[in-house]
Amino acid sequence: YRTFPGNPRWKKTHLTYKIVNYTPDLSQKKVDDAIRRAFMVWSDVTPLKFQRVFKGPADIVIQFARGEHGDGYPFDGRGNTLAHAFAPGEGIGGDAHFDEDERWSESNREVNLFLVAAHEFGHSLGLAHSNVRGALMYPLYSYVNPATFRLSEDDRRGIQKLYGRKSS
C-alpha cells in the first residue's frame, strides 16, 4: 500500500458524506446502498464512522459528472478513467467523482459501482494506489463479487496505519 505524500488523513473519526446527484443507470436506492456498503469496507476495520448528510457541507462530497466538471481533471468518456477522488483535506479534499459516461451496475456487467466507490473512498481517506494485484487500491478495475468481497491484507494494513484498528 501507499499513502499520499505527507500522509494526509482526517484528524477526526466521524466523517460526513453527501451524494449530490445520481446516475440514471441505477435506481437511487441502489446507488445509496452501493455507497453505504463502500464506506463500510473501511469502517469495518478502523474506528471511522460515516454519516450521510443531505444539506450543508460534508467531508466527502460524491457526484456523477462527465467531461470537464470543474476540478481541472476532465473525464474521458466511456472506458479508461472511471472515477477519481481527492486526498483528505478542506474543500474538494476527500471528494469522489464518478464518470457519468460509464455504465454503472450492481453486478458484473459494465462497471460495478460498489467496487469503484470503495476504491475511491480509499483515496478520500488517504490511501494512494497500491501495486499489489488484487488489492482494492490497485489502480486497474477488475470485477469481484461484491457479496463475497473482502478487503485485502495490503489495504487493511494501509488504512490501519492511518487510522488504527477498530476497537472490539
Partner: protein
C-alpha cells in the same frame, strides 16, 4: 484512392497515446530531470509487474487500455 497510412505514423500515434497516459498517471515529479520515454515506460512496467523492457509492447499497451481510476499511480 486515399494513400494507405505509413506504419510509422501508427506507431507515432501509439507513442503519443502512451506519453499521454504516462503524463496522466506517472507524471514527472522533478523539474531538474527529464527522463526518456523509455525510462518512463520502464517505471510504469515496474509498477504493474510487467516485463520491464522500456518498449511499448503489446502487454504494456494492453495495460494502458484497461479501465482504471483517474488518480495518478505516482502521487504528486
Amino acid at each position: 484512392f486515399p494513400a494507405q497510412g505509413k506504419p510509422e505514423s501508427q506507431s507515432n500515434t501509439d507513442l503519443e497515446n502512451a506519453k499521454e497516459y504516462l503524463d496522466k498517471f506517472f507524471p514527472i515529479l522533478t523539474k531538474t530531470q527529464s527522463p526518456s520515454l523509455e525510462e518512463r515506460i520502464k517505471e510504469m512496467q515496474r509498477f504493474f509487474h510487467l516485463v520491464v523492457t522500456g518498449k511499448l509492447n503489446a502487454e504494456t499497451e494492453e495495460t494502458m487500455k484497461q479501465p482504471r481510476c483517474g488518480v495518478p499511480d505516482i502521487a504528486d
